[in-house]
């Protein structure tokens, strides 16, 4: 088990390095000038540039952009490893400070959604698998099939229309942190959480249902029934335990989906989190922030996949021995 964990850790570090390289190369090699932010009323369609080329060269030098790309990369990596994510080009503030409270909000909302998605999806999936063919199963499966096709942002807008504009039940602008006004923030979070959780629960329920059905047809479950074990023991000990293996693997992907969804709901519901920071930085051509936020999102995903892999190896000895 220790060897397995060490192997996974090394792999995780390699992937994280590849991600930093990818993020860095994208930011540098894509068409578009990293210094667009200084170019007055720049927009990609007009291509108006208010800077002289000497000013441009000077800025390139000031930000170290005239050095070879691998030198820039190693320098940036070195800074990141020392906890320095760089400075925002537009506001000149340290990015670590800018991110500080935003990452907390995104993590808070993401955790809530993750818990609801996992528990809701697994329960719904188990229920459908056990009562396959009943009208409840058909209803939940149909809702799940539709739920997977709903765009997160559109569902948010629909909820705003119904519960915000028409019924006036829930707030949808003027975000407040939970430590400022806890009940208000709970009410505020209902719609954003529901927007992302709908698709998540749908996907999870479908997966759990098909995994449970797969396991139900195995010989050991038939043997368990033949032995005369109670349904509860068979479902929990024999089916669920084995059906959970592919579900645990999928959790990493679910988390990625939730983080991706958070970018949308933070924009739909004006929540000042990481996703909103990233999209507004994209609009401002503030490449330093874009690079830093993408790296943080990637880091979170790699770290959680690492945990999933370790959990997987612990659940299933076949994995860690292979």
């Amino acid at each position: 088990m220790t060897a397995y964990i060490i192997r996974r850790l090394i792999l995780g570090v390699i992937i994280l390095l590849l991600v930093t390289m990818m993020v860095f190369l994208f930011v540098r090699l894509l068409p578009g000038d990293p210094l667009m932010v200084f170019m007055g009323n720049y927009s990609p369609s007009t291509q108006i540039n208010t800077m002289t080329s000497e000013q441009h060269d000077e800025l390139m030098h000031q930000y170290g952009l005239d050095r070879p790309i691998y030198v820039q990369y190693i320098d940036w990596l070195n800074q990141v490893l020392h906890g320095n994510l760089g400075k925002s080009l537009r506001v000149g503030q340290d990015i670590s400070l800018l991110i500080g409270d935003k990452i907390g909000r995104t993590a808070y909302i993401g955790t809530i959604i993750f818990i609801i998605t996992t528990i809701g999806g697994i329960l719904a999936g188990i229920y459908c698998a056990l009562r396959r063919g009943t009208w409840i199963d058909n209803t939940i499966t149909t809702i799940a099939n539709i739920g997977m096709t709903v765009p997160v942002f559109w569902f948010g807008v629909l909820l705003i229309y119904l519960f915000g504009y028409q019924l006036h039940w829930l707030p949808f602008f003027q975000w407040k942190d939970p430590n400022q006004d806890f009940w208000y923030s709970c009410k505020y979070l209902i719609m954003p959480v529901a927007s992302v959780a709908l698709g998540g629960i749908a996907g999870m329920a479908r997966l759990v249902r098909s995994c449970m059905l797969e396991v139900m047809r195995t010989d050991y479950v038939r043997t368990a029934w033949a032995k005369g074990l109670s349904e509860r023991v068979i479902v929990v000990r024999h089916q669920l335990k084995n059906a959970m293996i592919p579900v645990v693997t999928a959790l990493g992907g679910t988390l990625g989906g939730i983080l991706g969804g958070s970018i949308f709901i933070e924009n739909v519901f004006s929540i000042p989190g990481m996703g909103r920071l990233m999209t507004s930085a994209i609009f401002d051509y503030d490449y330093q922030i874009v690079q830093a936020t993408a790296l943080i999102f990637g880091g979170i995903i790699i770290f959680s996949n690492l945990i999933v892999d370790i959990a997987w190896g612990w659940l299933d000895p076949r994995i860690r021995l292979s």
Partner: protein, 304 residues
């Protein structure tokens, strides 16, 4: 259950005749499963209708999608404007119809280009193994470590605005998944004796990959390709909603949701109808994908 018994009788007929079943029977069996279930049939019809709408958009749409008509802005639904008009008086129905073109174009081009790159990478990884496999797998690991939408945002956001950038971003995001799928399939196909036979008679590596492994590993990928189109359309809508996708005057569904959001009280349909269109399209392609999977995988037939 009824399906199963017909399958058995079909097989025994073929065996009784002691000849290989006629070539078209595979296709007929596929069609029976695929069109046998209502949900798949509905999905197929939705996809066909939407493709026709995209092709014949200029004939279907009653108005030009980009012509402003300010005196008639933000009207509710009426006989003239089925879904009303937006903040510039443009007809929502016509914009939805033309939006089908944009979504389909981006969906098909992005999925097929990512499939070509992903399939070549996957084939190479599975066939050569060793360090080629290790490098390609680590690269796809890294591409998959970033949540799809963040990778796409990164490319689309910094690469400028426009449909080609959106296609590149979404296509790039799909490569890793395609490569993984192809690699998995190709690994099992490579074990077959006919691949060894091809090697023994001295076929070149590329010829073996293209004529022996690829045709046998490809069918399951059709499912991924079909569902990929739905995924890309969702991604495009998301990018356009954030204002990073298809640029403004073009009638992209995601952009329409954003446009209408500020006028939900005047005419909610401007924002809400494009979402229904997105859902229909994604649902259609998902169902077609499910249907193909059911039809080509005998293990799943009639069970899930």
């Amino acid at each position: 259950m009824a399906k199963k018994s017909t399958d058995v009788s079909h097989n025994s007929d073929a065996m009784g005749a002691a000849v290989a079943p006629p070539h078209h029977s595979e296709w007929r069996r596929f069609a029976r499963v695929f069109f046998g279930r209502k949900l798949y049939l509905i999905g197929f019809i939705i996809v066909v209708i939407l493709i026709l709408v995209a092709i014949f958009a200029p004939l279907i749409a009653p108005y030009d999608p980009n012509t402003n008509d300010l005196p008639n802005k933000l009207q509710g639904p009426s006989a003239d404007h089925w879904f009303g008009t937006d903040k510039l008086g443009r007809d929502t129905f016509s914009r939805i119809v033309y939006g089908t073109q944009i979504s389909m174009e981006i969906g098909f081009i992005a999925v097929f280009s990512s499939a070509i790159v992903g399939i070549i990478m996957g084939l190479a990884a599975a066939y050569f193994g060793g360090w080629v496999f290790a490098i390609i797998m680590r690269v796809t690991d890294a591409m998959m470590a970033l949540p799809g939408i963040i990778l796409v945002l990164l490319i689309a956001g910094l690469g400028g605005r426009g449909i080609p950038v959106v296609i590149f971003a979404l296509g790039f995001g799909g490569i890793a998944g395609m490569c993984r799928m192809m690699c998995g399939q190709a690994l099992s196909v490579t074990q077959n004796d006919y691949v060894m036979a091809a090697r023994v008679i001295g076929m070149s590596n590329w010829r073996i990959m293209l004529t022996q492994i690829f045709p046998n590993a490809f069918p399951p990928l059709i499912v991924g390709l079909t569902m990929g189109i739905g995924g890309v359309v969702l991604g495009e809508a998301g990018l356009s909603y954030l204002g990073i996708g298809v640029p403004a005057p073009a009638p992209s569904w995601g952009g329409m949701v954003m446009d209408g959001q500020a006028y939900l009280l005047n005419n909610p349909l401007v924002s809400l109808i494009p979402g229904v269109a997105i859902m229909l399209l994604v649902f259609g392609f998902n169902m077609v994908g499910d249907g193909i999977r059911d039809a080509i995988d005998p293990r799943l037939r009639g069970v899930l």
